[in-house]
Amino acid sequence: MVYHFMFGPGWKEGCPSCSYLADGFDGAVVHLSHRDVSFAAISRATLPEIECFKKRMGWRFPWVSSFANEFNHDYHVSFSEKDKANGTVYYNYEMTEFPSEEGPGTSVFYKNDAGEIFHTYSAYARGLDMMVGTYNWLDLAPKGRDEDGLAFTMAWVRHHDKYVESQMVDVKALYVEPAKAKG
C-alpha cells in the first residue's frame, strides 16, 4: 500500500494535512508488516528533500521518491503545468479545481507469487478520512471536528512541531501549498 504524500520537488516541507495523517503511520506500519502488507509513502520531492523533512518530523516509515518517474501522475495525485493551465485537474475520478500541484491519495497493489503486480484500489479526498487517526478521536468529542466555520476544514492543522499557544486560524483561508525552499 502506498500513501501519496503531497510533497513536491523544491517545497521547503511536506503538506501539513498529509503530515497530520502521517503522524499515525509509524504505529500502523509495524502491525501491517505482520499481516502480509507493506507500506510506503511516496512523494514527487527528491529523496534528500524527503529524508530531511522525515528527520525533522521524527518519522520512521518507508518513504520513497517518484521524482524520476510518472508514478504519482499515473495515479492522479500529481498535476502537470499543462493540467493546471487548463484550470481543472483529474482528481478523485472527476475533473475538478485543485489548489496544489500535488494531491493526497492512497493506492493499493497486490503482488502474486509469479511477481505480477495489480492495482486494486485508490482513494482520494474524503476517501482518506478513515486514515486520519486524530479525526476519529475528535468525532467522539462534544465539539467534534469543530470545522464548520472554516472555508478549508484543515485550516487549523499545523505540523506537529509548529503549534504555538494561542494559535489563530483564518476562517476564510483556503488550502495553501507549502512554500518553495529558498535558494
Partner: protein, 83 residues
C-alpha cells in the same frame, strides 16, 4: 488579511454548544438507542469493505517493462511498496 477572519484554534466554529443534561437512566437509554445505530453503521462498514475487496483489479503493465529507463525506477518503487 482582516483580523475579523481570525479565530482561536481552540474553537473554530461552535461556541460552547451544550446538549440537554439528564439523569443516569435517561442518559443510559439514549446511549443504548444510539448504540443500535452505531452497530448498524459498523455492519454496513464491514459490508462496504467486503465489496471493496471484491472490486476488479487492473494489471500494472508499466511495471512489466524490462526497459532500464524511467519505468525501471517506477518498478523499484513498486517492488519496495507493493503488498
Amino acid at each position: 488579511m482582516a483580523t475579523t477572519n481570525l479565530t482561536t484554534n481552540q474553537t473554530t466554529s461552535k461556541k460552547g454548544d451544550q446538549a440537554k443534561v439528564v439523569g443516569p437512566a435517561e442518559w443510559l437509554a439514549a446511549r443504548k438507542e444510539f448504540l443500535r445505530k452505531e452497530k448498524e453503521f459498523t455492519r454496513l462498514r464491514d459490508e462496504l469493505s467486503r465489496q471493496r475487496r471484491a472490486l476488479p483489479w487492473e494489471r500494472v503493465e508499466k511495471n512489466c517493462s524490462r526497459d532500464p529507463g524511467a519505468s525501471r525506477r517506477w518498478q523499484i518503487c513498486l517492488a519496495d511498496a507493493a503488498s
